[in-house]
């Protein structure tokens, strides 16, 4: 039973990585629902005027130092998918392990993610 679950996990992760690596470079680049509404209803510039968080290591799903757009998107997707897998796994473990002190835990993981993304 345990072994079969492992197989499922690896398969699921493999599918996610394949999606990120092979499909994301060919995703539509058209504005999404909210962006489109913001454009047509004339409040899009409100979102471009300032950004509170300027240190995103992979802004707009691209590695800034890779010129090839498709490769850049694919690799950023790969990194992101692996990162979220380990973050969710780690937080799942933390949530399961310690029944109390959940507030402290929450601060702990948010700072962990913060640190993770800064030092990427």
């Amino acid at each position: 039973m345990k072994k079969r679950l492992d197989a499922f996990i690896w398969m699921g992760l493999g599918i996610a990585l394949l999606l990120a690596l092979l499909f994301s470079p060919f995703a539509s680049t058209a504005p999404d629902g909210l962006e489109k509404v913001a454009e047509t209803k004339g409040f899009a510039e409100k979102g471009e005027s300032w950004k509170f968080w300027k240190h995103a290591p992979l802004p707009d799903y691209a590695l800034p130092w890779i010129k090839n757009e498709k490769l850049s998107t694919a690799l950023s997707g790969l990194i992101g998918t692996l990162a979220i897998f380990f973050i969710a796994l780690g937080i799942g473990k933390l949530m399961k392990r310690t029944p109390t002190k959940k507030g402290i835990l929450f601060i702990f993981f948010s700072s962990l993610i913060f640190f993770f993304s800064v030092s990427f």
Binding site: A16, S24, A30, G33, A38, P57, I91, M95, F114
Partner: protein, 241 residues
């Protein structure tokens, strides 16, 4: 549907942040009680799948694109509270790592896609599923409708937030946001139903919300050369009766 910085007023962001973090804190408690050893890796893989699938924008009408949300998908797999935590983690990583969705608007984004999308979507799913007396057909109908609604409701919540913030009047924002997301939601319903039915075919035990039909006696062992465990049990049962 990821709201960037600058669209919403600070009061709106603060209010949704309080609601979302409260919901997450309660969610952590619920997950802590219900999670066992096997759910933890499933949470990791579900979050990874949602993140990857959210990168794939599909074109919808009029030069607009949309992407998978996954709120109802993860709710049906792991329960609504785990789904809320998964959506929160995905949104935090997208915001801090990929500049997708503003950091000041993180509370609103978690509210729209986690609280409304995952928790609200799950309530509708369970309501519809119970309405159909937990039949197998009803499961998929409830899944399709609730995943479609989760996108439309999340977009409507975003429109209401935009209106309260004074960015766009409700008369304008609500119909356009709900209208576009009614189309995007069709994609959401198709992907959710396809993905869940695929998992149901391979590992039905992983879909926590699914109640297998009990009336006809388990006919799962019909296929030849299934597991030897199931076959063995069947033989024992026949001998016992």
């Amino acid at each position: 549907m990821h709201i960037p910085d600058g669209f919403l007023s600070h009061g709106m962001n603060a209010a949704t942040f309080v609601i979302s973090s409260g919901a997450c804190a309660y969610g952590v408690r619920r997950v802590n009680r219900s999670f066992g050893e096997r759910e933890v890796p499933l949470m990791g893989v579900t979050a990874a799948f949602i993140f990857a699938a959210q990168m794939i924008n599909f074109p919808v009408a009029g030069g607009t694109s949309g992407h998978f949300l996954g709120a109802v998908f993860s709710s049906v797999l792991l329960g609504p509270w785990a789904s809320l935590i998964i959506m929160t983690l995905v949104l935090i990583v997208q915001c801090l790592g990929f500049a997708d969705g503003g950091l000041t608007a993180i509370g609103s984004n978690i509210f729209n896609m986690g609280v409304i999308g995952a928790l609200g979507g799950y309530v509708i799913f369970i309501f519809l599923y119970t309405l159909t007396q937990k039949s197998q057909k009803g499961f998929f109908i409830a899944l399709a409708i609730s995943s479609w609604l989760s996108v439309v409701m999340g977009a409507s919540a975003a429109a209401i937030e935009l209106a309260i913030s004074g960015t766009s009047p409700l008369k304008v924002a609500l119909p356009t946001m709900a209208g576009i997301h009614a189309i995007i939601g069709i994609g959401e319903a198709i992907i959710t139903t396809a993905a869940v039915s695929l998992i149901l075919k391979t590992r039905p035990d992983l879909v926590t919300s699914y109640v297998p039909p009990t009336l006809p006696s388990p006919s799962r062992g019909e296929g030849e050369g299934e597991g030897e465990g199931g076959g063995g049990k069947k033989v024992v049962n026949e001998k016992a009766t």
